[in-house]
């Protein structure tokens, strides 16, 4: 579904992505990990053209995302993006945040958009917050709404850029639970994260990046137990965390 073909990116003279070549199949949950500055956030942002690339191609559903005849807005409507800092629209209520895209971009009727919004909010456990303003929600709640907002566009692919890194530790689990449920339903996901426990339990494959290069691409069992690359080994030693608790959502 998503293919990186020899992707190169520079920030001025700084080579931040070096010949990334890999692909993600439908239904896979792909976790990208690596030390800070490895380029993993940059990589995920190139998919929806939030960042431009200078070399290579990125293919989504077989088509080049940067092709002259491709419409960037339609591309972004088909790929859900969840940000580290949630980025809910501060001037709109939760309900309006969820309905804006479907109405203005997908052309849904207000009723259809509202029904969908209610279903999605129930799914992330926040049905009672439908009329709240983002400023009155906790970080974990905001991120769950952000996930619902992305899902409202009914995308076949969901991208997560360090979704829990900006959350206080006690709220990380509620967001990971939502992501795990999404994975169990078969959603194709690409996740940049430091949550190794989550990766070990939920990922179909793990990519390890360092200094702009994709150094390892392996199923979690193999990656966590027998990392091939020396740098991957060192990274894992620094970062391992226990698996997420199987707690019920209480909100």
């Amino acid at each position: 579904m998503l293919q990186f073909e020899n992707v190169d990116k520079y920030y001025g003279a700084h080579h931040v992505l070096k010949g990334i070549d890999a692909k993600i199949e439908r239904g896979e949950v792909l976790v990208v990990c690596g030390p800070s500055g490895s380029g993993k956030s940059t990589l995920i942002r190139t998919v929806t053209r939030l960042e431009a690339i200078q070399g290579g191609r990125i293919l989504f559903e077989g088509r080049d995302v940067a092709a002259a005849d491709s419409n960037v807005n339609r591309l972004r409507a088909r790929i859900g993006f969840v940000f580290q800092s949630f980025n809910l629209f501060q001037n709109l209520s939760v309900r309006q945040n969820l309905m804006l895209g479907p109405i203005k971009v997908l052309g849904l009727s207000r009723d259809a958009a509202l029904a969908q919004a209610e279903t999605l909010l129930a799914k992330v456990g926040l049905a009672n917050k439908i009329d709240a303003m983002p400023a009155n929600l906790s970080g974990g709640q905001q991120q769950r709404v952000a996930i619902a907002r992305a899902l409202a566009m009914k995308p076949p692919l969901m991208l997560f850029d360090e979704p829990t890194s900006a959350l206080d530790p006690e709220m990380v689990q509620e967001v990971l639970q939502v992501m795990r449920a999404l994975a169990d339903e078969g959603m194709t996901m690409m996740i940049v994260t430091h949550e190794m426990g989550f990766a070990r339990e939920v990922a179909s494959r793990v990519w390890f990046m360092d200094h702009g290069q994709l150094l390892e691409d392996a199923p979690p069992a193999r990656f966590f137990d027998h990392p091939a690359h020396a740098r991957a080994q060192r990274f894992l030693q620094d970062v391992l965390r226990p698996a997420p608790r199987a707690a019920m959502l209480t909100d």
């Binding site: 939030l50 993006f81 940000f83 804006l100 203005k104």
Partner: protein
């Protein structure tokens, strides 16, 4: 000073009305309000252009702003006096000319406020709006501008103070506003120019000072509401 006020209050407040066109404070306020409202669309357009992702638009808006901010308002008024009848193809009143000049003037200054308002928003708002597939224009309309306009309200009220002061220049082309009224009163009373013109200053002072205080109050109210206290 108060006897001048007493004798000529009507002239100061409404000019020759109802026996002539509206003048005095009333006309000053009409001129200012009209100028503010009419310049808004252009100011928003220029402000948006300055933060748009298209370089030619940014450069054009920047050049326009520098041009308008770089020449005296009086010169803009003279330009309007010359150009507006030509562009419209008919005679225009001095009042209309003054409004046009204010629109041009504010399209640069008000635009700076719009731009500052847009730039003060966190970048993530635009990014997440684009990420669900909204176009740049849609994102502006539904996410950026509503938030920016709320932030900008105190600055806009402060800018209104500036506009009210600017209306005094319309006196030079014969618009019957407050300064013009004072000049008329001066020619009537003749021997007390200091009192007359200090009275004029007092009128403006009351208007502008009140507005500035209101802007300050607004700012405090918005800050409190943002923290969830109001």
């Amino acid at each position: 000073m108060f006897d001048i006020l007493h004798d000529h209050l009507a002239l100061f407040l409404v000019g020759a009305w109802p026996h002539g066109p509206l003048g005095g404070v009333a006309n000053t306020l009409v001129l200012a309000a009209l100028g503010l409202v009419a310049s808004f669309p252009l100011a928003i357009a220029v402000g948006m252009a300055q933060v748009s992702p298209w370089r030619w638009l940014r450069t054009g808006a920047d050049a326009w702003t520098r041009l308008v901010r770089g020449i005296p308002l009086l010169l803009i008024i003279f330009w309007a006096y010359f150009a507006v009848p030509l562009l419209v193809g008919a005679e225009v009143s001095a009042f209309t000319t003054a409004v046009c000049a204010i629109i041009v003037y504010e399209s640069a200054f008000l635009a700076q406020i719009v731009r500052a308002g847009l730039e003060s928003l966190p970048r993530g708002q635009m990014e997440s709006a684009r990420s669900i597939g909204l176009s740049w224009l849609q994102s502006m309309r539904h996410v950026q501008l509503p938030q920016a306009l709320a932030n900008m309200l105190p600055s806009i009220v402060n800018q209104s103070v500036s506009i009210i002061k600017a209306t005094s220049l319309a006196y030079v082309i014969g618009v019957p506003e407050l300064t013009y009224s004072a000049a008329q009163v001066n020619t009537i009373t003749l021997t007390k120019p200091l009192q007359t013109f200090l009275l004029l200053a007092a009128f403006y002072f009351v208007l502008c000072f009140t507005l500035s205080r209101f802007a300050g109050w607004m700012e405090r109210r918005i800050a409190r509401r943002r923290l969830g206290l109001a």
